[in-house]
């Protein structure tokens, strides 16, 4: 049986030393299946970007295992990691900061090709033209500098750079958050096209639940470095089981003035990751919290096929009153 493309077990990442020890990622386990888009969603400090960087080994994990295509990579050297990097690429949030302003497009994408010895010599020009056309730019753009492009076009260059090495996995960290809504729509459509065309698997990191529901097959909801809920996108968004997922959905503004405003506002701020609450990390803001929540870290409880959530008040958490999804299934 082929292993999942990525599997992550009990992953932990802590930064600093006590007393200033930041618990960025705590005991996170999941798989990225072949050909799927998996969403990581959460607010600031939820650990979603850190998880992406750990899989790329841009950061070293504190504990836990990561396997890429069956190979354990959590503790291998950067030198051993290098050939695998061709197979996993990142698309960044800020298309202004992630492209070198002094390089022309041909060198920005060419750098990726050179690093892995791809498309050398005469093949280079054709490959560049092909890549630019794939992302909706023109071959004539190869001689331009990043500042000559709009934000949306720059993000397309970033995507072309990631695709240049024909990766199996794309880690997209808030790829449309810096874009205007009309441009965001273009880039989301492009990513969906590319995914189908190249059979890409994707880890899609975002704080925007509407975008995640649109793009992803499955979603993981994170809070303070821990998994709150995991499941198929439609189930998590339409019938969330964890009180945090429910609160997050209720807080997201609906673009419909007649949408019912059932406002169960979460009080207070997200606690500091320097001293996360004992037991369930969400309990300090949770409307259902009891003393028992402080005593134990809640286990993942299954809620049907492929769907699980971490809350000991499983029976008290009703499937949300949000409207049911209409017939069409995600796959």
């Amino acid at each position: 049986m082929t292993p999942p493309l990525v599997s992550v077990h009990n992953l932990c990442k802590r930064f600093g030393q006590p007393p200033a020890l930041v618990h960025a990622v705590e005991d996170v386990s999941f798989e990225v299946r072949r050909g799927e888009v998996l969403g990581l969603v959460g607010e600031s400090g939820s650990g979603k970007s850190t998880i992406g960087r750990l899989i790329l080994r841009a950061l070293d994990p504190s504990e836990g295992d990561i396997a890429f295509d069956g190979l354990p990579i959590a503790r291998i050297s950067q030198r051993q990691m290098r050939p695998l990097r061709r197979r996993m690429q990142m698309v960044f949030q800020d298309p202004y900061a992630s492209l070198n302003p002094r390089l022309r497009v041909r060198d920005i994408i060419g750098e990726a090709l050179d690093a892995h010895g791809l498309a050398p010599g005469k093949a280079r020009r054709a490959r560049l033209a092909e890549l630019l056309e794939t992302v909706g730019l023109e071959a004539a753009h190869t001689d331009r500098f990043p500042h000559e492009f709009s934000g949306g076009q720059r993000q397309r260059i970033g995507i072309a750079r990631a695709l240049a090495v024909e990766p199996d996995l794309i880690i997209a960290d808030e790829p449309v958050s810096a874009l205007d809504v009309s441009v965001q729509a273009q880039v989301l459509n492009l990513l969906q096209d590319l995914r189908r065309r190249f059979g890409l698997s994707m880890l899609f990191i975002s704080h925007d639940l509407d975008v995640v529901e649109l793009m992803c097959d499955r979603i993981i909801v994170l809070y303070l470095g821990r998994v709150m809920e995991i499941g198929p996108a439609e189930q998590v968004c339409r019938s969330p089981r964890h009180p945090y997922t429910q609160a997050l959905l209720a807080a997201s503004p609906r673009p419909d003035p007649d949408a019912p405003r059932v406002r169960r506002l979460l009080t207070g701020d997200i606690p500091s990751p320097l001293s996360p609450p004992s037991g369930c990390v969400f309990r300090t803001r949770c409307p259902l919290a009891t003393e028992a929540c402080a005593r134990q870290i809640p286990p993942m409880i299954a809620a049907g096929h492929d769907h699980a959530f971490a809350c000991i008040h499983a029976d008290a958490v009703p499937p949300s009153a949000l409207p049911e999804a209409t017939g069409d299934d995600i796959r």
Binding site: E43, V183, L214, A251, S252, P255, D256, P257, R261
Partner: protein
Amino acid sequence: MFAGRVTALVGESGSGKSVTSLAVMGLLPRPSGRIAAGSVAYTGKSGVTVDLARTPASAMRAYRGSEIAMIFQEPMTSLNPVLSVGEQIAEQVRLHMRLDAAAAWRRAEDMLGLVEIPDARRRAHDYPHQMSGGMRQRVMIALAMSCNPRLLIADEPTTALDVTIQAQILALIDQLRKTHGMGVLFITHNLGVVAEVADTVSVMYAGEMVERTDVRTLFRAPRHPYSQALIDCLPARAARAADGRRLIRAIPGSVATAFAAPGCRFAPRCAFRDDACEAALPDLREIGEGHVSRCRRWEALA
């Protein structure tokens, strides 16, 4: 804009939302920025109506803060990092309300309480860097509310905040609007926030207002192709294709930055354009009660 009502100004980057609000506040950067034409009629606390576009800078200073207050996207850049938050509010009320130091400090404590900062009397001594983003935005709102403004201009006040904190701040602004009866000009690019907070909405594109109507009509029956296209390209409105993709009706192209052509600025991206659209800039026209559109072909959208 009316007392106790929320007007949203919505548009993408470069549409002119912030420049509009800075013009109202008399804060356009000099000398490059100036009001070239038009007026800003404002009826103040005294009941007298003035044209803010022709008010001298010294008189504008008295209006800002006490009549019209503003909050911004990133509170950290608007707050003074070397003064405690209490001192910043006290300074403002000493200047505008002529309170003595002790009364000004009490007012600062009261204002921090009003915006629901827990343990406000103690937190008044905190510096901005000791607070979270949500708490800093509450401080900004306390500062804005401290002189009882009649108009609050909120320029993307929740854009930098997490969604659960955004919900708290939106609820707070709404509650203060109700209890204090002030008008709110809410500038945002987020249509979800518009649907949540606005009574009336002005949609801007490339420096022009293209449509103004009440919030329900905007989402139900927009009568400018840009408004309609903007609503259609929300992820929540994506349609499912036969192959399973959920494609969004994106607006083709991007906003032009120079306007050499004489016609409608949206015409190059518009699905409804005809030759006449590119000949002359369309005027705003009244197409229903309280509903204006800058589209010649608005009837084609019905």
